[in-house]
Symmetry: C2
Subunit: 126 residues, 2 copies
DNA sequence: TCCACACATAGATATCTGTCAAATTAGAGC
DNA sequence: GCTCTAATTTGACAGATATCTATGTGTGGA
């Protein structure tokens, strides 16, 4: 399951780590960058998966077992399982079996990567 | 076409404008928040639309006419038109006809909103 | 060994989505 | 008015996706 090593998209961030602007807005996304980012956005472009991601991230200890998640939805366990698989294949979450239960936790770097593409600066203008 | 006034999702940003963390990671997304965000992410969850957004944002003057965009893809005008419509209905871009041509520009606040949900802080840890 | 429980996979199905060709609308210039 | 060009709308269709039921796979306890 090493989905980790996607070539990080540089764009729009200088050496100091200070961002000039959202890469998306800085210079046109290449075809390959777009092809690589789209599946990530697609993975979170679903209300159930957005909530799953959020539930997992906010759960005590930064991880949650499937049973914790299933009860939060009006969906059957296989459906939840399906959505978790989609998130995992995108690299947004990871999992491990511990005894009877399977635990999931998020991969923050992937989330951050998406955030940076859209706009790396803090919402300071409010 | 007033798609503007979606109730901004507060979450995770204190009064000073400094963000404590990504709302998604701060506290569980409500069902309605998720239902509202998912279509936005869905709109950008396509390689063509990602590039369209980027091309528009980066184009001189911050706007581009459809003819500028169409030539950048191996797709027919109706297909480009379809994708632009999806982006516009999501509120991510707006448009105006000026003479023969139709110009599109992005709505930065919508992009920022998505960025904030995923992670409001700058990618400082690199 | 056997059963109960947690979760995943497989298969089926209805719906959504991306694409194109054809037809339509809207301006500009003659 | 007529015609050319720009862009959108419509209709059709193949492929993807979300969901369910039924079945399979691990794990722990009696």
């Amino acid at each position: 399951m090493s989905k980790q090593e996607l070539p990080i998209i540089d764009a729009g961030v200088d050496v100091a780590g200070a961002a000039c602007c959202a890469p998306l807005v800085c210079e046109p996304l290449s075809e390959s960058e777009a092809a690589e980012l789209a599946p990530l956005f697609k993975a979170i472009a679903d209300p159930v998966r957005l909530r799953l991601l959020s539930l997992i991230a906010c759960h005590e200890g930064g991880e949650a077992c499937v049973c914790d998640l299933t009860v939060a939805f009006d969906l059957t366990p296989p459906t939840i399982s399906h959505h978790l698989k989609v998130l995992k294949q995108a690299g947004l979450i990871d999992s491990e079996r511990r005894g009877t239960w399977v635990y999931y936790w998020i991969n923050p770097s992937m989330l951050e990567r998406l955030a940076v593409v859209l706009g790396p600066r803090v919402a300071a203008t409010t």
